[in-house]
Symmetry: C2
Subunit: 257 residues, 2 copies
């Protein structure tokens, strides 16, 4: 299964906010066997969101996660833009409205247009309860793609992911395992190990082998990451273990030749 | 001036690495008056890079910054993919070759195909010296867009940005100021301040006013960010100051009514 993530928010484009939402979501997905194909960051801008959604939907991903812009203010326009991009009209959803009424009743505040706005979702969508804040999330199926629209406030987004999105996706990836193993190698520059890594990459289909220099070519230290997502029945963990064994063998050969 | 940033690397799509390169670059650009329009993160995948470049170039940005995939290994394919995307052939660049020869001569290592590979750049490009590591960066002009291809290793990317890219761009944005001011407000939920912020947004053209809840609707605390990029002669700082004054006035009015 493949996912695309779209994060909205001008603060992500000025560098003020580091996009930890994207890495948190990608990591959660990866651990249940779902690969993130792209992450797209745009501002609070309808035209940009429309283009990002269109560009993403061309790929027919299984999952499209959009964060940010669900709140009550003038620049919280994700739902309105989504509706334009997908050409689906909005309605005040009965269930979403109830969620919002209850939240504000608890804190003794009246309903205003800004508050009711958060109950407007596409006609063919379902609201997702916000376990932390107020604005509901949205779940929507278009073709083979399930779109999840989540808040940009990290604790609200995380709450919805953990309580709703991940448990649901886990049901579909029960037999998939994602394996990541890392080895660290001292004293060999990345440019010297390159042909060896290529040999391993070519031997094990689907495996990903990637070197990350954590020293320099002069004082080399490398982190080598092995990654594989696959069906449990195909034993992805032992494939990764074999590849690591092969790496040590090839390094031994190279140093003795 | 507008920029688009493309960051490549599978580690960014598994959540292992938080994309601090993007926020660091966006912040540097913002401070010299250049707005980042989009950030796109993709894996080590030629087809994806091609699509991301094509999608970006449709916007005719002034600057396109691409990071990652310049090293010596099999998955360092950014230059090869860029050449395919832009249909510009590659050559071993004399200047880039010299940079690499010198680096490896210093550490007494012979030139191998993997090392020479790092000197291959598009025929119409110029190499950028790597002040930290080995692989040169690339500068390339296509239409009105200047493309900078930089390493993914943060200290190498930062070195090239600080020594080469930023000083060059600063020459073109000398009369532009970017102003960001933040005020914190206690005790008002975001949904209550929303109409006030809309009024300010509508009054000051080009200004961006954005609220970030750092408390909750129940125990509200808001960070309100005011942002404006503009010519120094138009006094962007005093526009921001006036908008903040206006905010306090409207809040006073609201609390006394």
């Amino acid at each position: 299964m493949e996912a695309i993530i779209i994060n909205t928010g001008n603060e992500l484009l000025t560098g003020e906010t580091i996009n930890t939402n994207a890495s948190w979501i990608a990591s959660k997905l990866y651990h249940i066997g779902i690969k993130t194909k792209r992450i797209i960051v745009i501002g609070d801008n309808c035209e940009e969101l429309k283009r990002a959604i269109e560009w993403s939907m061309q790929e027919k991903p299984d999952i499209l996660i959009i964060t940010g812009g669900l709140g009550p203010t003038h620049d919280d326009r994700t739902v309105e833009c989504l509706s334009k991009a997908l050409k689906t009209p909005l309605k005040v959803d009965r269930e979403a409205y109830k969620m919002i009424v209850e939240k504000y009743r608890d804190i003794n505040l009246p309903l205003t247009p800004e508050r009711v706005k958060m109950a407007r979702i596409p006609v063919n969508a379902k609201p997702i309860k916000n376990p932390v804040g107020v604005a509901p999330g949205i779940e929507l199926k278009i073709g083979k793609t399930t779109i999840y629209v989540l808040p940009g406030v990290p604790k609200e987004m995380m709450g919805m992911m953990e309580k709703h999105v991940i448990p649901k996706l886990e049901l579909e990836t029960r037999d998939i395992r994602s394996i990541t193993k890392t080895v660290t190698i001292d004293g060999i520059p990345e440019s010297s190990i390159a042909p060896i890594l290529k040999k391993i990459q070519d031997t094990y289909r689907g495996l990903e082998v990637k070197s990350h220099p954590i020293g320099s070519e002069q004082k080399p230290k490398l982190k080598i990451v092995f990654r594989l997502i696959g069906k449990q029945s195909l034993k992805p963990e032992s494939i990764v273990d074999n590849a690591i064994k092969k790496l040590w063998e090839l390094l031994d050969e190279a140093s003795s030749s």
